[in-house]
Amino acid sequence: GIDCSGNSRMCCRKEFFVDFKEIGWEDWIIQPEGYHMNYCTGLCPLHVAGIPGLAASFHTAVLNLIKANNADAAVDSCCVPTQRRPLSLLYYDRDSNIVKTDIPDMIVDACGCT
């Protein structure tokens, strides 16, 4: 996977960090300090297409949308996550209990064209 840098327009992983303190969530989420909600963005030229991705069925759905909206769009590949990992949280629930859990597939580690 490629991390977005500079002004490359290729499919890459864009880092995006949500700081819990900034959004006023630091009182009920004890750990970690924020959420790396990275996402995939950029173009998938034909010669890059074909790298297997996690969300093949998602890819088909999005491609159908693109064809429906832009009949002349020559796109047959999409920039999607290819590697994800859990977000581990330690937080207070509504009864002031402490809960520790791992939410699967919440953090995008790599993107690719599918």
Partner: protein, 232 residues
């Protein structure tokens, strides 16, 4: 979509950076709350004291001998994963005691569990952690009763009764998996524990429960798997 171009899938114009950030932050909030099955962010009314939390985390981590904790801590925090690779969301819940009615020989403790977890998880393990006060010479029997509300909700019935012999001050644990599971099964949220010390000992727990000796229940739960229909 690349900066400046419209979205190829929905045809909307690309968002201005500030608007895009607001959209992403609200998406992050929605995603976390929905995955935690919370309708809204909790308002903390009774935060656990730091001493109680650290003691409870330390005791549960030490006790978890079978957990397959990944060798490396995740990069985004210091929390070891519960059971990586199973693909099923697991929870570790620490419920700290609320003091209930007490007499010179007995004390009642209340533990509360949230609706979200009660309805959608199955209990894998639940352990009550108590710190005994120094009982004095000899052994002192303590009877521990788990009380649950009866169907009318007006009275309490004894779900189980256990007798322990206490010889010295220190931590003790009691398995409560079945009691907590049946509590969840009844849709109830509050579990009451009654501790009764036989003759002359007084209250079996430290008077005033110092922070790091605060009683708590540590439970491990797993999300119930939705009923899957296999297409042939």
């Amino acid at each position: 979509a690349p900066q400046g171009a419209g979205c190829p899938a929905c045809g909307l114009a690309a968002l201005a950076p500030a608007t895009q950030r607001d959209v992403l932050v609200s998406l992050a909030k929605q995603s976390i709350l929905s995955k935690l099955r919370l309708p809204d962010r909790p308002n903390i009314t009774q935060p656990a004291s730091r001493g109680a939390l650290l003691t409870a985390l330390r005791r549960t981590r030490a006790q978890r001998t079978d957990a397959a904790v990944s060798p490396g801590a995740p990069r985004d925090g210091s929390i070891p994963r519960l059971r990586p690779g199973t693909g099923v969301q697991e929870y570790e819940i620490l419920s700290f005691a609320e003091s209930g009615s007490s007499t010179s020989r007995s004390v009642r403790l209340h533990f509360r569990f949230t609706r979200e977890l009660a309805g959608s998880t199955e209990i894998l393990q639940a352990t009550l952690h108590l710190f005994w006060a120094a009982p004095g010479p000899g052994t002192h029997p303590v009877t521990i009763r788990l009380l649950q509300p009866d169907p009318t909700g007006l009275n309490m019935t004894v779900a189980s009764e256990t007798r322990l012999e206490v010889q010295r001050a220190g931590w003790a644990t009691l398995d409560m998996g079945q009691a907590v599971q049946s509590l969840f099964g009844q849709g109830s949220q509050r579990l009451t524990v009654e501790l009764e010390a036989a003759g002359g000992w007084g209250s079996p727990l430290l008077a005033g429960h110092s922070d790091s000796h605060w009683p708590f229940v540590a439970a491990r739960a797993r999300a119930r798997m939705p009923h899957r229909v296999q297409r042939r």
